[in-house]
């Protein structure tokens, strides 16, 4: 039996007993099976789990691009029945519109979402974000002239440009080298301080999840359930925090949970 929650006010994002299956040529493919995630207002939740377990599917459910077969997704206290302008999303595949310049790509959401910004303010905002992620000087280039990592950064700007209340990032730093990645982690903290959002971050990088998020959710292998939730109890947002014994403990806990999720650990039966 699945419990129904009519209104959930305490959390900005509330995912309750969500199941989802894709219809494929060879019958339904169950991807999510009993997922529970709660993110309080201003919270930042990282989601980790084996490849193909359903993380990108989860982001589409929150964004209102897909709907669960069972269970509910609540956003700002309301059931998600369609996409919303208050959501910013950086997709795993950072596609750009090749016929627009990088700047015009970043400004795209402002053409859809109602905004009070004037035309020049919109442009200034896009330029500011591009400079923030180190893409100054690429504003007038075509996306085909960018590298994979540069495209990811531009796509991050596009997700942020309309100051969304909810930010969904699907492996946003996957194509970046370790140094650029650490720079962007710090930039994410700066942005969050200036323009508070509630975030969901999909990642494969456990250090990234601990450094950026205040809660890490480990999903089981497909079909995915919520297998484990780790609260990151630290206010230390210095990059040095990654080298404390506390962090080392959290990392090893997460690593063990991932092994269970992958079915590689004898404790696999534990979580059921």
């Amino acid at each position: 039996m699945v419990k129904r929650y009519e209104s959930v006010m305490e959390n900005l994002i509330d995912i309750r007993g969500v199941r989802h299956a894709y219809k494929t040529a060879s019958g339904p493919l169950p991807v999510l099976d009993g997922l529970d995630i709660s993110v309080p207002e201003g919270g930042f939740t990282a989601v980790v789990g084996p490849s193909g377990c359903g993380k990108s599917t989860l982001t589409k459910l929150i964004a209102g691009l897909l709907f669960p077969d069972d269970g509910d997704v609540f956003l700002q206290g309301k059931k998600v029945t369609s996409p919303r302008a208050t959501v910013g999303m950086a997709f795993q595949n950072p596609v750009m519109l090749e016929w627009r310049t990088v700047l015009k790509n970043v400004m795209l959401p402002l053409e859809i979402v109602p905004t009070q910004l004037s035309r020049t303010e919109q442009e200034d905002r896009a330029r500011y974000l591009l400079a923030l992620v180190g893409l100054e000087g690429f504003e007038d280039k075509r996306p085909s002239e960018l590298s994979g990592g540069m495209r990811q950064r531009a796509s991050l700007c596009r997700a942020l440009v309309h100051q969304p209340d909810v930010l969904i990032l699907d492996e946003p730093f996957g194509a970046l080298d370790a140094f650029t990645r650490e720079d962007l982690w710090q930039i994410m903290h700066q942005v969050k301080e200036k323009e508070p959002f509630t975030g969901v971050l999909i990642t494969h990088d456990l250090r990234e999840s601990i450094y950026l998020a205040d809660q890490v959710v480990v999903l089981s292998g497909r079909p995915a359930r919520t297998q484990f939730v780790l609260d990151v109890k630290t206010d230390n947002r210095d990059i040095e925090m990654l080298y404390t014994p506390q962090t080392a403990d959290m990392l090893s806990t997460l690593r063990k949970q991932i092994e269970i999720a992958q079915g590689r650990s004898p404790a696999a039966g534990d979580a059921t």
Binding site: V95, E98, R158
Partner: protein, 253 residues
């Protein structure tokens, strides 16, 4: 446009004319077998006014037929691109229609709308040229990656907005590829009507009167004029493509 882009094609054309002249001269062909470029000069000199009048008639009817093909072809392509059912339903019909040789349709059309020469000619130009446009637009729209759509959909954009901001620009390169084929086809359609069902208009008529008067250089002169108009129309499309879909061209340096 660099100097090279003008000099090279012009030189190629001059070489072609010289070879043509030489071939006729070496083989010793009389002009009723094969006219040479030097025979054409007097033909143009004598009939230049007719070339202008008839050339214009051929040109405007081709362009109107092509515009009709663009509008109707795009509409059919959109219907097929957005609906699987419509695609399955219309595809065999379109293929069959396209396979019918238009030379057989000309007399039918001429009988159906007796005397409406301009209309008939435009109709044939349209019928022969809309198919590539319909197919390319439908393929362009139906193969649009869902990732592109999701960018706008996730912000709550309407289907219409998604069409104007994503689907349409993304399909433009395919559209222009098809238009380059269609422009030549429309031209063939116009001339087909003018020659098969003569009604005293267009370069096709001039060709026909050259034939009845055994004025062979005139016939060849018409062919060359047709080729010239074809080149002009084609490069107009290329110029439009550069303006509206230039982004699809990868820089090679």
């Amino acid at each position: 446009m660099t100097l090279r882009q003008i000099v090279v094609p012009t030189a190629a054309m001059i070489v072609f004319l010289i070879l043509w002249e030489a071939l006729v001269w070496v083989m010793g062909w009389p002009n009723y077998k094969m006219a040479s470029p030097s025979d054409l000069v007097p033909a143009y000199d004598r009939y230049w006014a007719l070339f202008l009048i008839y050339g214009w008639q051929t040109l405007w009817r081709t362009v109107v037929g092509l515009l009709l093909a663009v509008v109707v072809g795009t509409a059919i392509g959109m219907v097929m691109g957005f609906s699987r059912t419509m695609r399955d339903a219309l595809y065999p019909l379109l293929v069959g229609f396209n396979a019918i040789p238009k030379a057989t349709v000309v007399p039918i059309v001429a009988l159906m709308f007796v005397g409406a020469h301009d209309f008939n000619t435009i109709l044939i130009a349209f019928m022969i040229s809309f198919f590539p446009i319909a197919v390319s637009v439908s393929i362009g729209l139906s193969t649009l990656e869902p990732e592109y759509r999701d960018i706008l959909k996730s912000l709550g954009a309407s289907q219409t907005t998604i069409f104007w901001k994503i689907a349409l620009p993304k399909t433009l390169p395919e559209f222009f590829g098809a238009l380059k084929v269609s422009v030549t086809l429309a031209f063939i359609g116009t001339n087909l009507m003018e020659i098969v069902s003569p009604h005293g208009r267009g370069l096709g008529h001039l060709f026909d009167s050259g034939k009845t008067n055994s004025d062979y250089p005139l016939m060849f002169a018409v062919l060359i004029a047709l080729g010239f108009l074809g080149i002009v129309l084609y490069y107009v499309v290329v110029a439009l493509e550069k303006i509206f879909a230039g982004w699809a061209e990868r820089s090679t340096d």
